[in-house]
Amino acid sequence: MEPIIKIEHLEKEFKLKEMDVHALRDVSLDIHKGDIYGIIGMSGAGKSTLVRCLNFLERPTGGTVTVNGKDLSKLSEKELREARKDIGMIFQHFNLLMQRSVIDNVCFPLEIAGMQKAQARKKAMEYLKIVGLEEKAKAYPVQLSGGQKQRVAIARVLASDPQILLCDEATSALDPQTTKSILQLLKEINRQYGITIVVITHEMAVVQEICSHVAIIDQGNLAEHGKVEDIFLAPKSREAKRLIYQGYEKVAEMKGKRCVRIVFSENSSFEPVIGNMVLAFKSPVNILYANTKDLDGVAKGEMVLQLPEDEEIGHKMIAYLKNARLAVEELEGYVD
């Protein structure tokens, strides 16, 4: 199947007075219809520039971006404006019109499309219902919380019936609880309307929560990309390792002789794997880091264990864990 977004050899260079900044170098990526594609990187990695090249808010200096079979660089200005109506975008700081009420904000893209006011209002109301804010229709953005503002922004984006939704750090200004509910909403939108979503973030947790695929951007380069579960199980690039291990970077400073990272992906939540191992070997292990959760009875997540100093027991434990269908990786000096 032809990808809905095809990025080929994308380059972006900013010419500044003091020096030229190469924000993106030879990035190629295919995003397919229905994907929730995460683009993750440290701040300054170039991910925001990359997402702005997908709707040409930023014009690439090289390479091509093909959306729905159309090479964006070949479009006239008018055609580009039309193409943008299929590519919605939400932002970290919501970017609502502060002098317009909630409903008028949602009407805005419909006005741009030239829809009659009464009809636009009716349609806007439907989208406000989807995001659960119909009772706030007459309020102004200043009266809303961050999460509510992002919901209005989502309703506004849905109003133009986009095929693609770009999210530029859409949850970075929100608290963890609100982040969860916004991510949940995005997931629903993806499922119900089949909208392809591109999520820009610096948090691995966001990628794990909703993304099917992920691309890791490091200093303008595409470090690694693929399915989230594959990369999470066995990150290859240095940058991917850094992002995935960022949760226990501090813990690792007191790393013992033998540390292993284990990833749970298919074991039952009810199976006490670590406990059984300790009992079997009669030797304690130290849990340095753990981030696991129960997903419909299946244990998901990761742990960092410090194994006993005894070489032989350590080896046997690794074999035991592998045997228990866990992904095991030795962490000798993984931090820079």
Partner: protein
């Protein structure tokens, strides 16, 4: 204190001043608003950067703003005569006032429009909004509070200029203050006109602030 004749003259002066100030402010915006929009849109961070157009209007605005008003008024006398047949009196003063106010207003408009959050403009662009849509539905509407506040400041600046024009037979309260208060040394008339000018300035300020508050939706009720 004042004779009946003098009172009538002062009342007429108030009318002339209001006419001069409001008409000049209006025509000043006819010139300054499009110019300010052009400066914003073609500026380095604008939605249609154009260094040449920007520089041209930038220079025009700077030239007119750096000429002292009284000298501008004298320089423009031939033009005023050409347009209105005479170069003195309240109506004639509208010409130099407008030309002095236009470039000044353009700068005020530019600074108001530049306050609009770039993210909101970016959001509109991402929805496929045209340049015109962004000017009318994003820039001018989002910046409306600041535009009104600056219009108030501009109007009071024009009020000050109009009083200055009194030195060259400009009409209005400034004219009365100079002819009666200064040349004939009638301090009572001088003080009355000054007080009236202060009251007018206060009035403009109050009205402007009131409007800017009423139209601002960024307040939490």
């Amino acid at each position: 204190m004042l004779t009946e004749k003098e009172i009538l003259m002062v009342i007429e002066g108030i009318g002339e001043t209001l006419w001069m100030v409001l008409a000049s402010a209006f025509f000043g915006y006819v010139i300054g608003l499009p110019m300010g929009i052009l400066l914003t849109v073609t500026g380095k961070d604008g939605i249609r950067p154009n260094a040449v157009v920007y520089k041209i209007f930038d220079v025009i605005s700077n030239i007119f703003r750096s000429i002292p008003f009284l000298i501008l008024l004298l320089m423009l006398q031939p033009l005023t005569r050409l347009l209105l047949g005479k170069s003195y009196g309240a109506t004639a003063t509208i010409v130099p006032l407008t030309i002095a106010a236009g470039p000044y207003i353009a700068r005020m408009v530019e600074s108001s429009l530049k306050e609009v959050d770039h993210g909101v403009i970016e959001a509109a662009l991402s929805m496929g909004a045209s340049t015109w849509t962004i000017i009318f539905k994003v820039l001018l509407t989002e910046a409306r509070t600041s535009l009104v506040v600056n219009a108030t400041i501009a109007t009071n600046t024009i009020l000050g200029y109009s009083a200055m024009a009194g030195a060259c037979g400009g009409g209005g309260l400034g004219d009365i203050a100079i002819r009666y208060g200064y040349y004939r040394w009638q301090p009572n008339i001088l003080y009355v006109t000054v007080i009236l000018l202060v009251v007018l300035a206060q009035l403009f300020q109050m009205i402007g602030m009131f409007i800017s508050r009423v139209i601002d939706r960024r307040r939490v009720e």
